[in-house]
Symmetry: C2
Subunit: 334 residues, 2 copies
Amino acid sequence: MKKLMNNPTNVVDEMIEGYVKAFPNYVKQLEENKRALVAVRQEETNKVGVLIGGGSGHEPAFMGYVGYGMADGVAVGNIFASPSPDPIVEVTKKIDNGQGVVFIYGNYAGDLMNFGMAAEIADLEEDIKVERVIVTDDVASAPKEEMHKRRGIAGEFFVTKAAGAAAEKGYSIEDVVRVAKQMNDVTRTMGVGLSPCSLPQTGMPSFELAEDEMEIGLGHHGEPGIEKGKLQTADEVVDRLVEDILKDMPIESGNKVAVLVNGLGSTTNMELYIMFRRVEQILSSKNIHIHRSFVGSYSTSLEMGGASVSIAKLNDELAEMIDFAADCPMYVQR
Amino acid sequence: MKKLMNNPTNVVDEMIEGYVKAFPNYVKQLEENKRALVAVRQEETNKVGVLIGGGSGHEPAFMGYVGYGMADGVAVGNIFASPSPDPIVEVTKKIDNGQGVVFIYGNYAGDLMNFGMAAEIADLEEDIKVERVIVTDDVASAPKEEMHKRRGIAGEFFVTKAAGAAAEKGYSIEDVVRVAKQMNDVTRTMGVGLSPCSLPQTGMPSFELAEDEMEIGLGHHGEPGIEKGKLQTADEVVDRLVEDILKDMPIESGNKVAVLVNGLGSTTNMELYIMFRRVEQILSSKNIHIHRSFVGSYSTSLEMGGASVSIAKLNDELAEMIDFAADCPMYVQR
């Protein structure tokens, strides 16, 4: 697939350089490590730090969500690969205000190892209290009995938002972690893949799928899904995705939820709105109230074709976090 | 190309339905015409109305830019086709507060005809003062001597923002028009196409390009560009785009500009940041100050591959408009 790039080995560094140049009032690169970015704040804060990160290729995640109401810093990995502990530690040192730092990342082997090592280093060498919240929203990636094996995908946006809002409100690290874990506990995502992306360095497609096929539950890095089949209509696909979510996490009539219909890269907003239409039909038929909606490409897999539906079951406190303002280069909420 | 949709003939109506359901606090469909959407405002206003619109397929444009600081209403056409006069007139009637309404749309035959007819109807039948601002930012679409023949593309975002901010500030209709026209006069866009989109109803690609080719100046609906050639590096492409812009509209050292690096659909944010990196290098080498940057898929051609660079040369008043807050479903600025 054609890409607008220079030397493929430099895509991540050039991307970061461009991003920081585009939003100098929002983010800066640390001198200690160029894969470590922190928010530029107009005023000193005394709040808990929120750190996000993971592999590149999911833009606007994760870099795009550094700013007021979201994360204070991000560690950026290579494409679809965890950042090494170094940038994580550097960001941690920078964003700690003595209240500790919460790491939020998806449940992937590389991230578990590197964020884990970084947490240990920050604790032992820098005496910074670090807590970790691991995102596991992808219903298709493991059965309910093995929830801890589930991968993190688009729902990480909600978890970051919850932690970021709680930290901004001055919550203690224990409460930021409580709110973020609670958001993860009530967030479920189901996705569908239609077409692969290609990695800049190899040009190879991330998976294969016939021109008339789709795959339910395909992972954000092309991990195999749970069912391959003929492409169905948007309504049929959404019916399936929402059904799987509600089977996994029953939601009672009268409850309120946040909904994210997320595009994986090359899927148009038009398709996402058409999908949202069906999500809304299903939920309103069950008297489930949509508290706030998010529709767009919030967490991508380069130019993969496909989309996911995330539903978060909200209590009043979580709804407050969802409604909290944000001001990041790639996500602003008034 | 695979699409998540139901009956292809219903994509636009289902898209609008989903969009309005997703953002009920922002937009509502008029009973008089379902292709006519207006902003939901918490308070009565007495300002000049700003109306945008055009064909569908450019999402998040134009629908996404209805809200505070941007447009008060939008008329939605079929895919790549102008809205008919009816929804334009209905929106006009709804958003007029006695101060008149400014129409902003791209320079396309269908839009010229339909917005023109709607303006006449609003004037003659409803006694509403209507002014029209036609966007002509696409440098590649006609030579400088025939500027009035140029098409409108991504730069329409800046023109809408200028008009929306001016209206919000309480400017008279004459001044809203003056500011919007001025923004159009100082905005230039150059784009590159890499891969076609396909229309939902036909499934046919919008143009053809070999796997190793790109086309400079390709239009937003697949209109032929000015040069087809081998795909070059991001830096080479950006050098060419910015050079053409600066040749067309010289910018002196010390001037300030707004920059929009816009993705056409399936081009990743990663590539857009890499492109922005080069734009910044070129402009800073010329001592041109980037006042504010916009990077993302602001105006697409369904899932077309490619991107454009828009540069607006700002005076102090236009910079104020660029900095003005916005609160729309698809664009928020604090």
